[in-house]
């Protein structure tokens, strides 16, 4: 009980107070405490990832085995997990050619490298004018066979090239590896799709918010329309003819006023409330008044 209750509370108190005071003490060892603490947190969180991964596999795997509702989505999740793991740790791809000598047929070499790397011939010529100990062709192949094909083509014309593979680690960043294929061809489009849905959700949410039901909704609608029109050239065009004494009704000016004053005032009020809430919650946690986050009443 002592280890589960008092020790964590003491750690929270001591660390909380030190971190709080460190913001006011620029001298070492307090100066970089925040950075160190963040790094410690990242390390702990990285180890905790294993727990999350195991939990994901357990629940999704169970769904597949029991053929529960939507089990095929779980199957996709499990397969995606293992596929990414395999390409991240076992099959990296990323074969490339390292040029030792362009050989006697430089125009052919430049033409072919230009085609595979999608760069201008002049740029290829400049890049391979000085090779040194060896210069890689900026094109990675998923398989050894892919690299071998280009190797044969260039070697047959007298170029001295060598097939190499990207080192572990860089295969996560470079194109032409299986991992990057998953990332750029599956993960990124899926993420973009989810993000793109936001546009439609904003439209449906705006429709509901702007529906005239009461005075507040009407004011919101009016302010929304002024902001939207005032921010595009149409706003300036529509109200450009107004005489000077009515310039305050010029839509770009009006929208700026709404944005700078009523909107900023409301946003700051919320910000002050949030700031106070954070101070209050932090104090309650540091002082051990709020203990329920540790599973205690």
């Amino acid at each position: 009980m002592f280890l589960k209750r008092q020790v964590p509370l003491a750690i929270v108190f001591i660390v909380g107070v030190i971190m709080l005071l460190s913001w006011f003490i620029p001298h070492e060892p307090f100066a970089n405490l925040e950075i160190h603490a963040t790094q410690w947190f990242d390390i702990i969180a990285s180890f905790a990832m294993i727990l999350g991964a195991l939990n994901l596999l357990k629940l999704q795997g169970r769904k597949v085995i029991r053929r529960q509702k939507g089990w095929f989505y779980s199957l996709a999740a499990v397969l995606g997990f293992f596929l990414t793991l395999t390409f991240g740790f076992f099959f990296k791809g990323g074969y490339y050619l390292e040029v030792k000598d362009v050989g006697p047929n430089a125009p052919y070499f430049n033409q072919r490298v230009s085609e595979v790397t999608h760069t201008e011939i002049d740029a290829v010529e400049r890049a391979f004018s000085k090779i040194g100990k060896g210069k890689p062709i900026n094109c990675n192949f998923y398989t050894h066979g892919g690299a071998l094909k280009l190797y044969n083509e260039l070697s047959s014309k007298g170029a001295v090239v060598e097939i190499k593979q990207l080192p572990w680690g860089s295969h996560l960043q470079e194109r032409g590896t299986f991992y990057s294929w998953i990332f750029y061809s599956i993960f990124t489009p899926l993420t973009s799709t989810m993000f793109a849905l936001l546009a439609f959700f904003v439209a449906s949410a705006s429709y509901r918010a702007f529906k005239i039901r009461n005075l507040e909704a009407t004011i919101l609608l009016a302010a929304g329309i002024i902001i939207m029109i005032g921010r595009v050239p149409l706003g300036a065009y529509l109200t450009g003819w107004l005489p000077s004494w009515l310039q305050w009704l010029h839509l770009p000016r009006l929208q700026e006023w709404i944005y700078q004053y009523p909107n900023a005032a409301g946003a700051r009020a919320i910000m002050i409330g949030i700031g106070l809430g954070i101070v209050g919650t932090s104090l309650r946690v540091i002082l051990g008044i709020e203990k329920s986050f540790m599973g205690e009443k």
Binding site: L20, W23, F24, I25, P26, H27, E28, A31, T38, F41, I44, A45, A48, M49, I50, L51, G52, N55, L56, K58, L59, K69, G70, Y73, L190, T191, M194, F195, L197, L198, F201, V202, S204, A205, S206, R208, A209, A267, I270, M271, I272, G273, I274, L276, G277, I278, V279, G280, T281, L283, R284, V285, L287, I289, E290, S292, F293, M294, G295, K297
Partner: protein
């Protein structure tokens, strides 16, 4: 005549020796009043015929000079960063158009030190002490007070209603404690509120589903839900898999939670924690399945989305006060009372600031610039 000759010779001697002494005469001193140290102010005199000036730096531990920057003109008070506590010299070299060194000179070693207290943050330090004192005072006072009045918050009153509705409909309660880790106060607050919601689901025997996007949040949430079920005397209803992990990725997590909403159609959805762009995706999907939705966040930019798509929204401080409201612990309620007093003080300060500034008195604003 003799006297004039003496001055002539003296003048010639000074003229000959002066270049050897270094007309550049660079001086490096630590920047005064800089709490974090590190900054050195370098000054040097300009040299005739100089095309540019190269500045070099070398600490006592280093063998070679490190080139820092070239200037066309020597400005007054040039600032450079060095490591605190390490004696460092600067070398200024005047270069002519043909890139010949006209003259170069080295400063005395300079050492910077950080202060033990950042005097520029004194007002904030006093404010922190004051705010903490007020909150602690009200926490202490709350123990003696019979009843503490706090204004009713519709969103918090709806918590029980939402869980009750889910129970009546025989559907589950979905609780999302944000998408960030435990290093965010909003996540901690979301996890604390989860404890109260879990007590309600245990009491009503409603099914609870808590998808999380961070492993540490999963562990903390599991512990808190377990404790809630124990405290309500229903450990039999607790299942560790109620709290389950999906992914750290923002939109993948949003897709997973949307999937749960569309497949299981929970009757009540709680979105309590730190959210970003996925907030509207989650809230609109929850809205489309007709669930009663209660959101709460400390992310100002997401509040409008939640207000639009959810039935109730805990705005800013309401979200952080939720735990105290739901828990009814006098100590926690006392801290909320303290926060309200501070808010009143801030409002008065802002009002005073507006009045003084409008009248042209700047002393009040200057206090906060310290």
């Amino acid at each position: 005549m003799k006297r004039n000759g003496f001055f002539l010779i003296l003048g010639m001697m000074i003229g000959t020796v002066a270049p050897l002494l270094g007309a550049l005469d660079p001086v490096a001193v630590p920047k005064e009043g800089d709490p974090e140290g590190r900054v050195v102010v370098l000054n040097a005199n300009p040299v005739d015929q100089a095309f540019r000036y190269d500045i070099f730096q070398k600490s006592e531990e280093e063998q070679d000079w490190n080139f820092i920057i070239s200037y066309a003109h020597l400005d007054k008070d040039m600032h450079f960063d060095i490591d605190n506590g390490v004696p460092t010299r600067f070398k200024v070299a005047a270069i002519d158009k043909d890139l010949n060194v006209l003259e170069e000179a080295v400063t005395e070693p300079v050492i910077t030190e950080a202060m033990w207290f950042n005097t520029k943050r004194i007002v904030r330090f006093i404010t922190m002490i004051l705010f903490s004192g007020i909150i602690l005072y009200y926490i202490r006072k709350a123990r003696q007070m019979k009843e503490i009045y706090l204004r009713p918050i519709a969103g918090l009153k709806a918590f029980e209603e939402a869980v009750g509705r889910a129970t009546e409909m025989g559907k589950s309660v979905l609780y999302v404690p944000g998408i960030m880790d435990l290093d965010q106060v909003e996540t901690i607050s979301g996890v604390i509120i989860l404890g109260h919601v879990a007590k309600m689901t245990a009491r009503y025997e409603a099914s609870l589903n808590v998808p999380v996007s961070r492993s540490l949040v999963m562990e903390a949430s599991r512990e808190i839900v377990h404790e809630s079920y124990l405290s309500e005397g229903r450990p039999d209803l607790f299942n560790p898999d109620m709290v389950h992990y999906y992914t750290d990725d923002q939109f993948a997590f949003a897709a997973a939670v949307d999937g749960i909403m569309l497949r299981e159609k929970p009757a009540a959805v709680f979105l309590q924690g730190k959210f970003y762009a996925e907030s509207l995706i989650l809230a609109e999907t929850g809205n489309s399945i007709g669930a009663i939705q209660i959101a709460g966040t400390g992310s100002p930019s997401q509040i409008p989305f939640f207000v639009t798509a959810c039935d109730y929204t805990l705005i800013g401080e309401e979200f952080f006060a939720a735990s105290a409201y739901l828990g009814k612990d006098p100590k926690l309620l006392g801290s909320i009372k303290g926060q309200d007093i501070i808010k009143g003080a801030i409002m008065i300060t802002i009002l005073l600031g507006v009045i003084f500034e409008s009248l042209g008195f700047t002393f009040f604003k200057d206090i906060f610039n310290l």
